[in-house]
């Protein structure tokens, strides 16, 4: 099945599996996992440069911004002001106008502060950012974010790093029906079948970090995730059969002895 393109704000993406770059052993492993996953969108965090130890390598030495879409996030921001500050710094660091906007509302669950998220998204959209918001699995909030001008929404499957899989498939399905922009399931995926399910429901892409980086063998899991996302997408487009309570024979009765 050809011509299955993912386009967000006029940019075309090859892969429907997006990955985070945190928690890997080193940059070599990070790059190997990304390349094995076939991901062309990678998220990065914005942090202070270590000025006392300049021997530390730079992540961008490993990830050529010409080859990958570098998606800076505002991870760790608990206020609108902080999220704006990190987003503006990320843009000034010169990659692009893209930002994965996070405004976190609670330390233990890392659930988004959706009121703060909407407020920050409004301001950043006005400043010309392409805002991809990390949001709750709340269809009304997702719709508001789209109305503000977000060209995609990124609802969570489950809390960040929890590996619980899609906790609220019905809300996810409602979001997929309610918004007319790409939906990227972000956070909470634990294993390959979680990613497949998200794609089978009709998600446009899946973003994950811990599920790969935290696996016993991250490179093998990256490969599993690549196939999981592809299989889920293909199954979605192929159209599954309806569930029925009783059997339907698949061999003909005609010609039986």
């Amino acid at each position: 099945m050809s011509d299955d393109r993912l386009i967000i704000a006029g940019r075309e993406f090859k892969s429907r599996l997006w990955v985070g770059t945190g928690k890997y052993k080193d940059f070599v492993e990070t790059k190997k996992a990304i390349d094995t996953a076939g991901a062309d969108v990678v998220t990065v965090a914005v942090r202070r440069v270590n000025i006392t130890d300049r021997s530390k390598e730079n992540l961008l030495d490993y990830l050529d911004p010409k080859k990958y879409t570098i998606l800076p996030n505002t991870a760790g921001c608990y206020t609108v002001e902080d999220a704006l500050r990190y987003a503006r710094l990320a843009r000034a660091a010169g990659i692009s106008d893209l930002v994965k906007l996070e405004v976190i509302g609670d330390e233990r669950t890392l659930f988004p502060d959706t009121a703060g998220l909407i407020e920050a998204a409004k301001i950043l959209v006005k400043e010309g950012f392409i805002v991809l918001p990390y949001t709750n699995d709340d269809p009304v909030v997702a719709k508001k974010l789209v109305d503000i001008g977000c060209p995609a929404v990124m609802p969570l499957a489950a809390p960040i790093g929890s590996g619980l899989g899609i906790r609220n498939p019905y809300n996810l399905k409602i979001i997929l029906e309610m918004v007319k922009v790409p939906v990227i399931v972000d956070a909470g995926v634990g294993t390959a079948s979680d990613a497949t399910l998200a794609m089978e429901y009709g998600a446009d892409a899946v973003l994950m970090n811990t599920a790969i980086a935290g696996a016993r063998d991250p490179i093998a899991m990256a490969e599993a995730m690549k196939y999981a996302v592809e299989a889920g997408r293909l199954a979605y487009r192929a159209g599954r059969i309806p569930r029925k309570l009783y059997a339907t024979a698949s061999s003909p009765i005609e010609g039986m002895l």
Partner: protein
């Protein structure tokens, strides 16, 4: 004069520019963003912007990250985290 760079006090010559400071620190200007007293600078301003006594300079770059802040990634605080 004394300025604050990424939260640490540092002696600098009066009027040193942001570009000069980055050279002193051996930091490639094309890989970072710089904030002076919470004002984000355009890269073109690095050569022009002279620093003054007591200025707070933040130099940031991209590091590995997925979502949320995670302790293993080192010092995270530019602004307050909570």
């Amino acid at each position: 004069m004394t300025i604050q760079v990424n939260g640490e006090g540092r002696t600098a010559s009066v009027g040193v520019t942001v570009a000069e400071l980055l050279r002193e620190l051996d930091i490639r200007p094309d890989r970072v963003a710089v904030e002076v007293n919470t004002e984000v600078l355009n890269r073109q301003e690095f050569e022009r912007r002279g620093l003054r006594e007591g200025d707070h300079v933040e130099i940031i770059s991209f590091i590995g990250g997925g979502a949320g802040a995670c302790g293993e990634l080192g010092d995270l605080a530019i602004g307050p985290l909570t």
